[in-house]
């Protein structure tokens, strides 16, 4: 490890060598890509509980059977799956998929084998959300701690009730447990972080991996994010933030999210995320790995938030544009060289508008001719995982020279963008931009380039 190289101005080139998405289509890039290109949607009725009391009854959940965490982790790690909240399962599954796709041998793929990359040179940056405690688990533990009115009695809880919870209860819900389980399974001993900036978390994590590799502290990183807000608290908080499209019981909500449609009424939640293997070009070449795309530019900004908390992002466009501009500058790419854009495209009207205005500031009249990739109509908005999924799809578009189908939207020309429903098709893509802005106002932009 050369200390000198950490501060040199020449930046090591960074490539993506493995994609590990998890979405309502299942685990792995093939299921995701096939679903996206076929114009399918993972949005459907929520079945794990009766959602009829909430504003929406649909989500893009991972169907039972498509994420069997016990089958994914190494045999000697199965016991630990008992302390994995859904978000942790998503990250662990995504990491396994990415490691396999990148052709890496780790402790998690082959116990006792020599790791492809020395463990101390592998970092891990995973975006996570606020994981709520499981209501069933908590309520059943509290049953013996009810006061005369049926409310919670903290005295009895302190004396006896809390012992009804498993000793490791807290560890199911710490956001850093996504990265901790992943680093333990795959023996990543390098720099590790957990970013918690809502929808921007995944992209910020990938940006942080780029920074860590550039400064010489790792050769490769497991980078991305994962989350599921399809639970009581997740739905309630998103309702309080006015983000969800209303879908009443019995309504077909499969077209409820319509990004950049003038009639857009809100978003639909998804379960998922992605882990990517980000790696220095030197490391990838050294081990003969095929690069999928190059990460050429990154920038992050805090957006102006009139309401402080970034629920109202209607003033965010200038800062979103500034992030895009920063990423273009970092990449040494001109706006005219961007061939496709993967925005957050949430279907939340104010946020769609802010994104459209920001893109117009950068791309001018050409914006209406740049195809947008809109993922929410197919996989929903997956919280901290959503922008990692976006980067994953951008990389796949570059590899396949193809754009997936778009669903649900019409009339997007009124917002100056090309986002209407259409079939998948081939496209000549050299540079693809991902831009994401999360609740709270953190915005990140990443530019990926085709490997030639």
């Amino acid at each position: 490890m050369s200390t000198q190289s950490k501060f040199s101005k020449s930046k090591p080139r960074i490539v993506v060598t493995g994609l590990g998405p998890v979405s309502g289509f299942g685990v792995g890039i093939d299921l995701l890509w096939n679903g996206l290109c076929a114009g399918a949607t993972a949005i459907g009725p929520i079945t794990s509980f009766d959602p009829s009391g909430f504003i929406t009854t649909v989500a893009a959940t991972i169907p039972p059977g498509l994420l069997d965490i016990r089958a994914i982790v190494p045999k000697n790690y199965r016991k630990a799956t008992k302390v994995m909240a859904r978000d942790i399962e998503i990250a662990v599954a995504a990491a396994a998929s990415a490691v396999q796709a990148a052709g890496l041998t780790t402790r998690g793929t082959a116990e006792g084998a020599v790791a492809t990359i020395p463990p101390e040179r592998v970092g891990c940056h995973i975006g996570a959300g606020l994981i709520p405690a499981d209501s069933d688990e908590l309520a059943s533990a509290m049953l013996t701690c009810r006061d005369a009115q049926g409310g919670f009695d903290p005295g009895e809880w302190g004396r006896t009730g809390m012992n009804n919870l498993t000793p490791l209860w807290l560890l199911k819900y710490l956001p850093n447990m996504l990265a901790c389980h992943v680093t333990i399974i795959h023996d990543c001993q390098g720099p590790s972080n957990t970013l918690t900036c809502a929808e921007a978390s995944g992209a910020l994590s990938i940006g942080e991996s780029m920074r860590v590799i550039r400064r010489g502290d790792a050769d490769a990183c497991l980078s991305g994010g994962g989350e599921s807000k399809v639970n009581f608290m997740g739905l309630l908080r998103q309702t309080f933030a006015n983000r969800l499209a209303a879908v009443r019981p019995g309504e077909n909500g499969s077209r409820a999210v319509r990004p950049f449609d003038p009639t857009a009424m809100g978003t639909v939640l998804g379960e998922g995320g992605a882990i990517l293997i980000t790696e220095s070009l030197e490391s990838a070449q050294g081990r003969g790995a095929a690069a999928i795309a190059e990460l050429v530019g990154f920038a992050a900004r805090q957006c102006a938030c009139a309401d402080t908390v970034g629920v109202d992002l209607s003033d965010a466009h200038e800062d979103i544009a500034s992030a895009i501009e920063g990423a273009l500058h970092d990449a040494g790419v001109m706006a005219s060289e961007i061939d496709a854009i993967v925005p957050l495209a949430s279907g939340i009207a104010t946020l769609d508008l802010a994104e459209a205005k920001a893109m117009a500031m950068i791309f001018g009249d050409r914006l209406s001719k740049i195809p947008l990739v809109t993922l929410a109509p197919q996989v929903g908005i997956c919280g901290a995982g959503t922008s990692a999924l976006a980067v994953c799809v951008a990389a796949q578009c570059l590899r396949e020279q193809r754009l997936p189908a778009r669903l649900s939207t019409s009339g997007s020309a009124a917002m100056g963008v090309d986002a209407d429903a259409r079939a998948a098709g081939t496209a000549a893509l050299r540079n693809v931009l991902v831009t994401t802005t999360g609740m709270g106002g953190q915005s990140a932009a990443i530019i990926l380039r085709r490997i030639t």
């Binding site: 009391g53 720099p191 970013l195 908390v309």
Partner: protein, 446 residues
């Protein structure tokens, strides 16, 4: 090696402002003098009725009102207590850095990197919703009933303020920061990691100024429950002021604290350009993962040592070398020093792994003996402690140290503060789950 002072001013990172809100006070001087008295912030918990809990005491922030420190209090009217701590600490740092009078013209060159924790859950209403929605026949909560109760009982603003990026959003609003903005949450390591990554962002030229630090409180029913179930907390039935005893043979767990620590970091070029006074220079940062177990620390101290070694390598310091007058290269280590059996002995082992025989000559203390464990905010507060030690030539003690532990055989600055020439310090933070971070800070000289 590229010694830090050979770096160009745009690649040197200095501290120009500091602030904290802690169980021992809400400004630099009050807290520092309390640390120099060996004071304890512990007392019975007042936030909720904890009398029957295995642990009924903590180090709470007392009598803190953020509003007098704010330019626009109305914008923060709904701020949770963690965001209030964050704003209070950041306002002090911003003022000390004279950014209120010599403000950067471009807010997009001012970034934020926090290691802040989630907000305090609305315990009574949240627990009531879960309990009242319980369907005994089905053995689970009824979704429809829960939704009804949730909408009825819980408050929208309060729920949104619990998101972990809210202290960040409040600080951005208050100071007009529009540059790179991050919040990380690596448990007890978070704010050390935030300060380290903020320095990396500055060196990479992505910003001129970074507000960095952390804020957190877990002194609430489910927070204490969680740590009690993990048996990580001291359950001492004696004087709470004596419950946190890092490195002592009788240590029995940590004591929860709460609060915030914030620093202003800038490139030296930017600080000098606007006539700000550098208080110290951040010369090294290391981050690692134990990759061992979610519940236990890697027993040989490999991960902790890796973080320290990486920070020292970045600082251009050989831990096995000595200065020309024979002194160790590092003058003080602010220990993670939680007071759990496992942490303190393994941290001791890791320091010996890094410094070899020299380890015994390096004073290492834990202010958690006095302030409690501020969880995500701990690292930032301890980083500030290091800068204060450099300026005052005094080392804060580890109080409540009475019985040596054969496994903890270093110099822990037992019980009373010590005068010392302090130039270079390490500050260690190790998170539950195995994320480890160390920063290296030194006296500033051109």
């Amino acid at each position: 090696m590229n010694a830090p002072r050979d770096r160009s001013p745009s690649e040197r990172v200095v501290v120009t402002g500091m602030g904290w809100v802690t169980p021992l006070g809400h400004d630099l001087e009050t807290v520092w003098s309390a640390l120099m008295r060996g004071a304890s912030g512990m007392a019975p918990i007042t936030r909720f009725d904890a009398r029957t809990f295995p642990t009924s005491f903590a180090a709470e922030v007392k009598n803190f009102d953020v509003n007098p420190l704010l330019k626009s209090p109305a914008a923060h009217a709904n701020a949770g207590i963690n965001s209030q701590f964050a704003l209070g600490a950041a306002a002090q740092a911003w003022k000390q850095a004279q950014l209120d009078v010599k403000s950067p013209r471009n807010g997009r060159r001012v970034g934020i990197y926090l290691g802040a924790g989630e907000g305090v859950i609305d315990t009574p209403n949240y627990l009531a919703a879960n309990l009242k929605a319980w369907n005994a026949e089905q053995g689970k909560c009824d979704g429809v009933k829960w939704a009804e109760l949730g909408h009825e009982l819980m408050n929208a603003a309060r729920e949104i303020e619990q998101e972990p990026n809210m202290p960040l959003a409040h600080i951005a609003r208050e100071f007009g920061a529009r540059g790179p903005a991050y919040n990380c949450l690596t448990a007890c390591a978070a704010s050390t990691q935030a300060i380290g990554e903020a320095s990396s962002i500055l060196r990479g030229g992505e910003a001129d100024v970074m507000i960095a630090g952390g804020a957190h409180t877990m002194i609430h029913v489910l927070g204490v429950t969680g740590f009690n179930r993990l048996t990580a907390l001291s359950t001492s039935k004696g004087d709470p002021a004596k419950a946190s005893c890092p490195f002592d043979l009788g240590r029995g767990g940590f004591v929860m604290g709460e609060g915030a620590g914030m620093v202003i970091l800038e490139t030296l070029e930017h600080a000098l350009g606007r006539g700000a006074e550098p208080l110290a220079e951040l010369i090294g940062f290391g981050s690692s993962a134990d990759s061992y177990r979610i519940t236990d620390i890697e027993p040989t101290g490999r991960g902790a040592a890796a973080a320290m070694l990486q920070a020292l390598a970045q600082a251009g310091i050989d831990p096995l070398a000595r200065r020309s007058d024979g002194r160790p290269m590092v003058d003080y280590i602010s220990a993670h020093g939680t007071g759990t059996k496992e942490n303190d002995s393994i941290e001791t082992l890791a320091v010996k792994r890094v410094f070899g025989e020299i380890a015994k000559e390096i004073p290492m203390s834990s202010v958690k003996s006095m302030l409690g464990h501020l969880i995500a905010a701990a690292g930032a507060v301890e980083f500030i402690t290091c800068v204060m030690a450099i300026h005052r030539g005094m080392l804060p003690p580890t109080i409540n140290y009475t019985t040596p532990d054969p496994e903890c055989d270093l110099d822990y600055v037992a019980n009373i503060p010590r005068a010392a020439k302090v130039e270079t310090c390490l500050s260690n933070s190790f998170g539950f789950g195995g994320q480890n971070d160390t920063v290296c800070v030194t006296a500033f000289s051109e």
